[in-house]
């Protein structure tokens, strides 16, 4: 112990750098682990806390029957049910974030007493007015609304103006990607709207709270079956149902992506830190080899020495680990804010002692392993050997570049000589620099894909990146229209891309229909392939999980009155439409409806603005068209909040990377140069000036750093994508292919290179202060 403390005191700067690396490692590891562990329970805890229903069913008031509630109430496993009147605007438009979105808005009466989901308000105005409205918290975090802002709903070509009087938290109907948004009006406003509105929009909502929320899906199926049996076949009411399982999957997906990116990044940095820790520990031990010799000579056993060294590093690890954890708590609010943006729920930071201990433990374990590996030599080395300055670290079989014959300037030759003789160290530097470059490229690629070229990220949502959407009149001849549009100027291609409602093995699924999947830009299938033949289809992983069928299984598809069997050929990924997507060919759907011809066209443009084209097409084929839509704008408003959140994370990641890279480069190069202090002392004694030595240092390290940078850049280029997909598949993202922008990678690599050069010069300058005498005498 005493020995360990003495060592710490002696190698102050080495200890300090080790301290910093371990601190960074624990900090990032801890943040990553905390986010991952707490996130998985976060949604459930919130649902419980808010007393949100596990299943909501909305239907038209006309088709409601009181037996329904009775059925639910008597269903085994149901704890509570509640039914109330609501106003259901099934296709309402409103502004959210950067654009206008269309969603189903369900309006509750705020003054009705309710036991389920009593809507906790996070924030509200003190004064009330006649047109107050309460909206979910996501309107604040993503929608850009503040208290007191105006909020306009457009429904059936009428505008309803409100003032936002408060925000409330909800898990069930609080996010855009659920397709349903819950808002609340005070009694007076509610009655007024109720009087104005069409009776079709008057709905009933049944909220159900189960004992076990995992049974919600089963209950939903049974209820739908019950309603179908209850009603006559032709009057089957349109039910809108939402269960907590599916909501959770969709709501937490993006957060999981971000958390995973964060953790992946943390892991990379931790790895880099570990390499550096290994480096500094071996250095430390090498420097102290004479001391070890002395101790051995006095009679200490190898075990005693090793345990003292181990203890020394464990001590440092513990100290910096604790500091790192404290720091991570300081950083968590920033991440909490991002999570709030993505879920519309307030993040509450709790203290996770177990996780903290695990982080420290993991880092300590790594440090211990590294130390023991590094100290291995101590066992073998004899005291005499150690006293003489240790093991010969160099291997001089060959005199590289003999000065008498080699061409080139003296300093270049000397630099190359020293580079060629210390191969072991070169490997270490190459490793460190490569790891650093990889980390930088990794975060650079993430940043590039999220901040400047968002295509890959947007593709995650399963949207087809066409430019204009055209809905065709059912009577019109779609095929003819396609041929016509294809011949228009500036049109690069046209695809049929329908979205219809089918039932696959009894589940309601949104099904895409197109004739050739090869023609689409965004291949949403991540495993297997899109359907090619008329008896094939692909399903999203959400559907796959629900019906428990995978590639190679046959499924029953029901559309209209027909049913047919199809073979699943691929699994796809989509975040929209609750993630419940399947895809079929046009031939395939014609098995179910022989005259099916497709009613939606996706048009890809080149060299013309979307708006211009839209007015052009209205002019030419207006009678064959129901409506046109600007897809770009739509995508922007739907994905805006995700990109914003991920952008924030990326900025953070990039900043940390830069700091870590600079720090590590500085410390590593410093250690290296200090190790060669004696050599520089001799050179200085025989008359080399500081400037000449600086040049030599630069020239001897730059080639190695260059190799490291190149290796790291290459690794980043080839492995960023595979690594990310591997990691994100756990988060629910099954397919991701980020664009790798080569100029920016080259730029990053060059920056690291230049940075390394500057740092080595900076440290080499410090040698200037030391006289030759001090250098050689030590």
């Amino acid at each position: 112990m005493k020995l360990a403390l003495a060592n710490v005191r002696k190698g102050k700067s080495a200890t300090a750098s080790l301290f910093i690396f371990i601190l960074v490692a624990t900090l990032l590891l801890n943040i990553g682990l905390m986010v991952i562990t707490q996130l998985s329970t976060f949604f459930d805890q919130k649902a419980e806390q808010l007393k949100d229903p596990h299943l909501v069913i909305t239907m038209n008031q006309a088709s409601y029957h009181s037996d329904y509630e009775a059925f639910l109430a008597n269903y085994s496993g149901v704890k509570e049910t509640e039914t109330e009147e609501v106003i259901d605007m099934n296709l309402a438009n409103y502004y959210f974030g950067n654009g206008e979105v269309t969603n189903n808005i369900i309006i509750f009466n705020a003054d009705t007493k309710r036991a389920i989901a009593p809507a906790m308000r996070i924030d509200q105005l003190n004064s009330f007015s006649g047109n107050d409205i309460f909206v979910p918290y996501s309107f604040n975090t993503d929608g850009g609304y503040q208290l007191g802002d105006d909020f306009t709903i457009t429904f059936q070509a009428k505008q309803y103006n409100y003032r936002i009087a408060g925000f409330f938290e909800t898990t069930m109907m609080g996010m855009n990607n659920n397709g349903v948004m819950k808002v609340m009006l005070p009694e007076a406003g509610y009655q007024l709207l109720s009087d104005q509105i069409d009776s079709d929009a008057k709905g009933m909502i049944i909220s159900v709270l189960n004992k076990d929320k995992s049974t919600a899906s089963q209950l939903k199926e049974d209820f739908i079956g019950y309603v179908e049996r209850f009603q006559s076949v032709e009057a089957t009411p349109s039910l809108m149902t939402l269960d907590i399982i599916e909501v959770k999957e969709v709501s937490t997906l993006t957060v999981n992506i971000i958390a995973t990116i964060l953790v992946a990044f943390a892991v990379i940095i931790v790895l880099v830190a570990l390499i550096v820790i290994k480096f500094s520990i071996s250095n430390n031990i090498e420097d102290g080899i004479v001391n070890i010799g002395v101790l051995k000579a006095v009679g200490y056993t190898s075990r005693q020495i090793i345990s003292s060294i181990l203890l020394q590093f464990m001590l440092i690890t513990l100290c910096s680990g604790v500091v790192g954890i404290a720091l991570s708590y300081a950083l968590m609010p920033i991440i909490g804010g991002i999570i709030a943006t993505l879920t519309g729920l307030l993040w509450v930071q709790t203290i996770a002692l177990t996780v903290n201990m695990v982080s420290v433990f993991l880092v300590a374990l790594c440090v211990a392993v590294v130390t023991i590996v590094s100290t291995f030599r101590i066992r073998r080395i004899s005291p005499v050997h150690a006293l003489r300055g240790g093991i010969q670290t160099h291997n001089f079989r060959k005199n590289h570049l003999p000065l008498a014959t080699a061409k080139g300037s003296l300093h270049l030759l000397l630099a190359l000589k020293s580079m060629l003789t210390s191969s072991k160290q070169n490997v270490m530097i190459t490793l460190i620099v490569a790891a650093l470059t990889f980390a930088t490229v990794f975060s650079g690629v993430l940043y590039y894909n999220i901040a400047s070229d968002k295509t890959a990220f947007i593709n995650l949502f399963g949207t087809e990146p066409a430019n204009v959407y055209i809905a065709v009149q059912p009577e019109a001849n779609t095929h003819e229209l396609i041929t016509n549009i294809e011949q228009m100027n500036h049109v690069s291609k046209v695809n049929i891309f329908d979205l219809i409602n089918t039932k696959i093995d009894g589940q309601n699924v949104y099904t895409n229909v197109t004739d050739h999947y090869n023609n689409l830009e965004n291949d949403v299938v991540y495993q297997g392939r899109q359907p090619k033949h008329d008896n094939e289809l692909s399903i999203s992983w959400v559907v796959s999980k629900k019906i428990n069928k995978g590639i190679g299984d046959a499924v029953e598809v029901e559309y209209g009155a027909e049913t047919a069997s199809y073979l699943v050929t691929g699994l796809s990924q989509s975040i929209g439409n609750l993630g419940q997507i399947s895809s079929m060919t046009l031939d395939g759907i014609q098995h179910l409806q022989s005259n099916y011809q497709g009613t939606t066209l996706y048009v890809y443009l080149a060299g013309i603005s979307n708006k211009e084209f839209m007015s052009e097409i209205q002019k030419q084929y207006g009678d064959a068209i129901i409506e046109t839509l600007d897809i770009d704008e739509n995508i922007e408003s739907q994905t805006g909040m995700y990109t914003a959140a991920v952008f924030a994370v990326m900025v953070m990641v990039l900043i940390i990377t830069v700091i870590v890279v600079v720090m590590i480069l500085y410390l590593v190069i410093k250690t290296l140069i200090i190790k060669r202090k004696k050599e520089f002392g001799i050179l200085k004694a025989i008359g080399y000036s500081t400037f000449q030595l600086m040049n030599q240092i630069a020239m001897s390290y730059l080639p190695i750093i260059m190799i490291g940078v190149t290796a790291g850049g290459g690794l980043g280029y080839f492995f960023t994508n595979p690594m990310l997909s591997l990691l994100l598949s756990a988060a629910g993202v099954k397919r991701l292919s980020f664009a790798i922008h080569i100029p920016s990678i080259i730029f990053l690599c060059l920056s690291i290179f230049v940075l390394a050069y500057l740092v080595s010069m900076l440290i080499a300058r410090q040698i200037k202060q030391i006289s030759a005498y001090d250098l050689i005498i030590e």
């Binding site: 345990s307 090619k532 050929t569």
Partner: protein
Amino acid sequence: MRIKFLAATILTIFTLGMVLSVIVIQRHNIQEVDVVAINDLTKKIENNWGQVTAQHVDHIVSQPFSIIDREENVLYRSPASSFTSSFASIKNRDTLIDLQQNNEVVGKLIIQNDAQSIVVRMKRDLIIAVTLILGLLMVVILIYLAIINRTLVKPFQQLQHFAVNVARGDFDRPLTMGKNNYFGAFTESFDLLRDELATARQRAYESNRSKKELVATLSHDIKTPLASIKAVTELMLLQTNDNKVKKHVQTIFSKADQIDLLVTDMFHATLEELQQLKVAVVEVSSTVLREMIENVNFDHNIDYDPIPPCLILTDTTRLQQVLDNIISNAYKYARTKIKIESRIHQDYLEVDIIDFGRGISEAELPLLFNKYYRGQNIAGQNGSGLGLYISKYFIEKMHGQINCYNRTDGFTVAIKIKLAT
């Protein structure tokens, strides 16, 4: 030893459990038939029925396959496929698929079954598991080592250092005790011992010092009556004519003088012991003189050239006192600018402090360094007359010399500081 045994047992059990569970988990893995590819193949064959070529069907499925018509004539076979009869295929668990044309079966697609074993992968997994367990093992050992060091080695080392400190006379460092110290009482008694030793030593020092102070005061006090005795005897010496009496008085006078000298010596000795006049000579760079001069250069009245760089023998605090004294004298009595000149001469650094006042009379010069002597020009200036006396005392203790002389334009005090050799 018992702890060790315990740890070993736990580890063994732990390891066995891990290994067993890993082995149990890694057991089954059966390759599935690629239905999608087969469907693709079927569809392609049906679409090109009658004119199937390698171009249509190659590389869709990995297994070899054959296409036969209703009469079991082979229409196409992929390389490496070996169709004999449909029953043979069934026996081999081959996949048989009906090929249809307008809802009518026109032939069969036969895909051969190639069973494979995949045990190799399991071995690799096992290796990973074993490595993991070894890692865990190591951690436990680490913890164990740490415990031993903390509970046994550290307290002993502490005790050892403590003993060394006490032996060296350093009683100020207490012996700290960890909570889990096995030798609690033992350690505590050691610490008590240290405390007692420290107080005893402090007490001895205090009493010694007070005794010396008493002596110093007394010897100073004795001087006053002694001065009276000397004065009276001197008077008597002048007044009496009786030779016998004169002789006696002479004796009294000389003895009083002797007492005076003795008391003065005693006074000095005690003062020195009390460190009031102690001079500790060290070697310092002559650059310290610059600082010393600057310390007293309040009104920038002092001009001085750079001090020649060398190493001098001096006691910096005392030398500062001397300079303070001389310079304040110059300020007080000359009230002119002061110039300081310095040079290296032989083995001395000579420093001359020069003022431009009236100086003092030649007669007084030799008396200047006497104790309690104050010059004639002191009118209106207070002082004890001790300054130059002490200065001389200090400088001589530093192996230097101090002198003073009048110049035509002022007064100079010359200090010679010994160079370090």
